[in-house]
């Protein structure tokens, strides 16, 4: 079997498939990718099953060495990527010869990127999923130096390519108010929607701290615990809201002022500590329309630009418009 040897891995680099459904009723959170669109794209360009397991790379970065010939795709934030020291674009398809190393470091922007492999990672599923939920110990452990990741590789005749993505960076994250917006006065909701929120330094797969003004619920900080959906913005006792992300607790006893809409969870997820967002309230219909638009974008024709020479820096590559390389895909 082929494989990827982990030469180095920063904290928080994990294996994620599309998540672990069906066990919320037993207190098991779904986990899954922080940026579902990027995860899906990395798999899609390789012809993998949607939701197949991929490596989720944090700002801590990762370095991988191929054991066997492996075709990989990287998609997500704009990370600094290189193969044996030569720069590659932030979103790319790349084939590694045995012994070649792919190095991923935090780059110009974004907090997460995904490394998919043509074929599949060979891990045993836990409760039907390969997603790591580090806090509860479910799924594969976080990547660590020296580890060898088994890969059932599929040979691909894909050129090394840049994946052209259309993900305009956004600072406005749309939310649906509720389920406990009635715990907050109109003035407090206005404060939430009009303020700039800075992503806190202790943010991780479980939660992003939102630094800004304190919010004070009208009916106290305690509710009888109820379910917590991904993207819930809950306001605990000290009035500092937190956005609950992929590894959130399944239930919570603090009021939730709003929930980020599905299409925009990735916008917040890709923010780094210190970066800011604003929240905009939309209607349920608008949230569903945004979801439909995101689904259409996920199925839009792929746009790939072959890398003609691999010793270009990523700046060079980004400056060259290789229109002839654009291919149309259909689904």
């Amino acid at each position: 079997m082929s494989g990827l040897k982990v030469v180095a891995a920063g904290p928080g680099v994990t294996i994620q498939d599309s998540g672990r459904p069906d066990y919320l009723r037993f207190g098991v959170t779904g986990a899954g990718p922080m940026d579902k669109a990027a995860h899906a794209l990395a798999n899609r360009v390789l012809g993998n099953r949607p939701g197949a397991a991929a490596i989720e790379v944090s700002l801590g970065g990762v370095e991988l060495e191929a054991q066997g010939i492996l075709t990989l795709a990287v998609a997500g934030g704009d990370f600094a990527i290189s193969r044996d020291g030569r720069a590659l674009p932030g979103n790319c398809i790349v084939t590694l010869a045995p012994g070649q190393r792919l190095r991923i470091r935090s780059g110009a922007s974004g907090a997460w990127c995904y490394v998919a492999v043509a074929g599949r990672f060979d891990f045993p599923p836990v409760l039907g999923s390969l997603s790591a939920h580090t806090r509860s110990g479910l799924g594969p452990p976080a990547l660590a130096a020296g580890q060898a990741l088994g890969v059932a590789a599929v040979e691909m005749s894909l050129d090394d390519s840049m994946i052209n993505v259309d993900w305009p960076p956004g600072d406005v994250v749309r939310v649906l108010l509720g389920p406990q917006d009635d715990y907050f006065s109109p003035e407090q909701i206005e404060l939430f929607l009009s303020s700039e929120w800075r992503v806190g330094g202790r943010s991780d797969r479980m939660a992003y701290a939102l630094e800004g003004p304190s919010l004070v619920p009208a009916h106290g900080f305690n509710i009888v615990s109820d379910g917590v959906a991904e993207g819930a913005i809950q306001v605990p006792g000290e009035g500092k809201p937190i956005a609950l992300m992929a590894d959130r607790q399944p239930t919570g006893g603090y009021p939730k002022i709003a929930n980020i809409i599905g299409a925009d969870i990735r916008l917040l997820a890709q923010k780094r500590p210190g970066e800011t967002v604003r929240f905009k309230a939309v209607t349920h219909e608008e949230a569903v329309a945004a979801r439909r638009e995101a689904a259409a974008q996920a199925n839009a024709p792929l746009s790939l630009t072959p890398l003609l020479r691999t010793h270009f820096s990523s700046e060079d590559l980004l400056g060259v418009n290789l229109v002839g390389g654009v291919v149309a895909g259909e689904e």
């Binding site: 009723r25 409760l127 509860s136 649906l176 009888v224 615990s225 379910g227 939730k256 929930n259 349920h284």
Partner: protein, 244 residues
């Protein structure tokens, strides 16, 4: 006239999750209705329904709004809720072996002092009651129970204590739960069960379904140790009985 259906409240948790709220307090009648709707919806699931998560007082319905509209979902829930006669039938009563002695029941003395009872009376009350699984939450397999005798309704600790041992039964604020893993807590330790609420690779992985009943059967430390070793090897050491 107030019907059951008009007591429902629909709350959005984003466009892909709907909270059906039956009340805002911990109440056996409210939880009964949550469980009954959970069972009814599972038995008559519309296309696009993703997952159901019952809690003390509400049912969180995860759905795919591109396949199932909110209007169709709420209509289905209202129709099913109006037909809910009684609580969903529990499938099982699980009898869990519990050690209350020494460090297993570290806080029995504190609870007894607070309740103006003897430690033996606290243990007799706790092991004499029948509990219902109201929900799972916090972490995988953490099992929240209704049915704690009122006499044991001590409030939370002022400050959390260091991580509890796995499989500890804790109480606070009139509630009780069986924990699975080691975590800090603001609750009080009343006993430890040899059974695991969750064991990967065992069938069932999760011992009790939401809505099932639990009882705690007192065992001495030596019996606990023997059962704990068997449970650690993947054996089921709880007894399954017919629910009330």
């Amino acid at each position: 006239m107030t019907t059951q259906a008009t007591m429902l409240k629909f709350l959005d948790a984003g466009e892909g999750a709907l909270v059906v709220e039956f009340g805002r307090e911990v109440d056996p009648a409210v939880n009964d209705r949550v469980m009954a709707l959970d069972a009814a919806l599972a038995a008559d699931a519309p296309a696009g329904l993703v997952e159901l998560a019952p809690t003390y007082r509400s049912l969180m319905i995860h759905y795919e709004p591109l396949k199932l509209t909110r209007a169709d979902l709420t209509a289905r829930v209202e129709r099913l809720a109006s037909g809910l006669r009684a609580a969903a039938k529990a499938r099982a009563l699980w009898v869990l072996p519990v050690c209350y002695d020494g460090e297993c029941g570290e806080d029995v003395g504190v609870i007894a002092d607070w309740a103006k009872l003897t430690p033996e009376q606290v243990i007799a009350l706790h092991s004499g009651a029948t509990y219902r699984v109201y929900m799972y939450g916090f972490a995988p397999g953490w099992c929240y129970l209704g049915g704690l005798p009122k006499e044991l309704g001590i409030s939370r600790r002022a400050t959390p204590r260091p991580p509890i041992p796995p499989n500890t039964i804790i109480v606070a604020g009139g509630l009780s739960l069986v924990a699975t893993n080691s975590m800090p807590t603001g609750w009080w330790l009343i006993g430890r069960t040899a059974e695991r609420m969750m064991t990967l690779g065992r069938e069932p992985v999760f011992l009790a379904e939401p809505g099932d009943y639990l009882r705690f059967e007192r065992v001495d430390r030596a019996t606990f140790n023997a059962l704990d070793a068997r449970a650690a090897a993947g054996e089921l050491v709880a007894r399954k009985e017919t629910p009330p």
